[in-house]
């Protein structure tokens, strides 16, 4: 898991650089959203899904207990 999360984050970061959509505007989603914009709107939605996954599998739960523990406990 320690390696999988950074790799997943790196892969998603790389997907931001969508060079394959660079020079074309078509197809237009809903008749007006160019493919480059559509891709990045979907990318933002995918980021929300990825964050939901990270909150589930990588939530730093020990941190909260540590923060609320009194010194010497």
């Amino acid at each position: 898991m320690k390696i999988a999360i950074p790799l997943l984050l790196l892969a998603y970061y790389a997907l931001h650089q969508d060079f394959w959509n660079w020079t074309s505007a078509r197809p237009l989603l809903f008749g007006f959203l160019p493919i480059g914009l559509t891709y990045h709107a979907l990318y933002a939605m995918g980021a929300a899904a990825l964050m939901a996954l990270l909150v589930k599998v990588a939530w730093p739960s020990r941190l909260e207990a540590w923060a609320e523990k009194e010194p010497g406990e």
Binding site: L9, Y12, Y13, H16, Q17, D18, F19, N21, W22, T23, S24, A25, R26, L28, F30, G31, F32, L33, P34, G36, L37, H40, A41, Y43, A44, M45, A47, A48, L50, M51, A52, L54, V55, A58, W59, P60, R62, L63, E64, W66, A67, E68, K69
Partner: protein, 496 residues
């Protein structure tokens, strides 16, 4: 006239929220500066988002899209939708935990404690303050532009900026973090709601976006705005470094300390990308399609100038021009208030500067011990007045567009400070000397950037990339060569 009245009514409402928050306050420093570390999950999400999304997100983004097309969304929005929640998840929660455990209120307090330093912290304070000022100026400029355009020139830029500065200053002055957080939450709801309505109304008014998109694609002068063919992929990559600034912005870092429980970050982390999408997509679409709004004289003049010179024009008022032309007056007023809501996010930056000054300078150099906590809050309030006045007078003479001002100084500088946070919170081996080297590098690079020509790049990369990598390298290099903080301090921070 009607839209102006709506916006003025909105200003009265936010002022009242500030006064209401003032009545809830207990007069202690932690209560004033951090809302008693007791913000609930929804207020935390909405106000953190509202704090981050400023005039830059609304007016700057549509202005940039007007000039450069759809690339604007990928440059700032989709990269932020990924990078910012990751930062909140891994750095924001750690900041919250350290703040809660050791009672810290500002990032500099954390740095001083973690690296056992004093004056290096003061240097970091001055750098943070210098980088934050342009962002506050952006808010005042946005306020002046909004009121001036919505009132059809009835309220001049200087008066609009002054009115916004006074209102923001007042509710921050009275309400502190609680007032600022409530106002930001209210503003975010308002803009998210009316922003979507704006898109439909303007789209209908312009004859439908599909027709406009086809028209733009069939015209060689505008077709490139619907793809990224004129934008370098390397520069596009560089921009993914800008969202790193989010956690290094003192107002965001300080805001992370206000959550009642760490679990309140969960909603924020998951919903942040969607909030960004809902704000930026309409703004970018409207900015791009404004290139076909020849029937609006102010936009026609901008389009002609852009075509004639082949250079970008100052276009921060594009969204407002569309609104004024296509929306009915009452709706333009509501939407104008919504835009004003986002524009006024400079409140949290002003509060952050005041918090930093009173904690990192006033308290650190012994004034709180001598004069007491009430004097600290009063000093914070006086500082708010001074900062706002300075931002206002500077905004009157600012020449750059909102987008340029933000990207060139604030984003690049704060992104380059991000390694300091990673070093302090995640690397046992980091030292105060490494932090000093990185801070001096960022300060020097920012000054150099100030004198560099617009659009300056380093091997095709935006300056933010070498600035951030340079800071990270210096922090690492100097830290491995210099003595570490005491084992006790390292143990305190890494005993999780």
């Amino acid at each position: 006239m009607i839209p102006t009245l709506f916006v003025l009514a909105y200003l009265v409402i936010v002022l009242y929220i500030g006064v209401f928050a003032f009545r809830q306050s207990r007069g202690q420093a932690e209560d004033y500066f951090l809302a008693g570390r007791a913000l609930g999950p929804w207020v935390f999400l909405l106000s953190l988002f509202g704090t981050h999304m400023t005039a830059f997100a609304i007016l700057g983004s549509s202005g940039h899209a007007f000039n450069f097309g759809i690339v604007t969304f990928g440059l700032m929005a989709s990269s932020s939708a990924f990078v910012v929640p990751v930062l909140l998840l891994f750095l924001g929660t750690k900041l919250w935990a350290v703040g809660k455990k050791f009672g810290h209120i500002t990032p500099v307090q954390i740095f001083r404690d973690r690296w056992e330093c004093g004056h290096i912290g003061t240097l970091i304070f001055f750098l943070q303050a210098a980088l934050l000022i342009p962002y506050i100026i952006i808010g005042v400029m946005g306020g002046g532009t909004t009121l001036s355009v919505i009132s059809g020139g009835l309220i001049p830029f200087w008066a609009g900026g002054l009115l916004v500065a006074v209102v923001v200053m007042s509710y921050v002055f009275f309400g502190g973090m609680r007032g600022t957080a409530w106002v930001n939450a209210f503003q975010t709801v308002l803009f998210l709601t009316f922003g979507m309505i704006a898109v439909f109304v303007i789209s209908n008014g312009m004859g439908g976006f599909s027709a406009i998109a086809e028209k733009m694609l069939n015209d060689p002068k505008t077709a490139h705005l619907l793809s990224r063919e004129k934008f370098s992929p390397l520069a596009f990559l560089s921009y993914t470094f800008n969202p790193l600034s989010a956690i290094a912005f003192p107002h965001i870092a300080i805001f992370c300390l206000t959550a009642k429980k760490m679990t309140q970050f969960k909603k924020t982390v998951m919903l942040y990308p969607l909030c960004i999408l809902l704000i930026w997509l309409p703004c970018v679409c409207l900015g791009v399609f404004a290139n076909q709004a020849q029937e609006i004289p102010a936009l026609a003049a901008k389009i002609d100038m852009k075509m004639a010179t082949g250079r970008p024009v100052v276009a921060d008022d594009v969204m407002l021009q569309l609104l004024g032309h296509f929306a009915p007056e009452w709706l333009a007023g509501l939407l104008g208030a919504g835009i004003m809501a986002a524009v006024m996010a400079s409140d949290s930056q002003i509060l952050a500067l005041s918090t930093m000054f009173t904690e990192d300078i006033f308290t650190f150099y012994g004034a709180r011990e001598r004069f007491g906590q009430k004097a600290q809050v009063t000093t914070g309030r006086l500082f708010i007045v001074l900062v706002t006045a300075f931002a206002y007078f500077t905004a009157l003479n600012a020449k750059a567009s909102i987008f340029d001002l933000a990207v060139q100084f604030s984003f690049a500088g704060f992104s380059a400070m991000m390694p300091l946070y990673v070093g302090a919170l995640y690397w046992k081996g980091s030292t105060k000397w490494g932090a000093l080297a990185a801070t001096i590098w960022v300060a020097g690079a920012t000054i150099a950037l100030f004198y560099a020509p617009r659009g300056f790049t380093v091997m095709g990369l935006a300056p933010v990339v070498p600035m951030t990598l340079g800071a990270a390298f210096l922090l690492w290099m100097v830290s491995i060569l210099t003595p570490k903080p005491s084992a006790n301090t390292v143990e305190r921070y890494f005993s999780v």
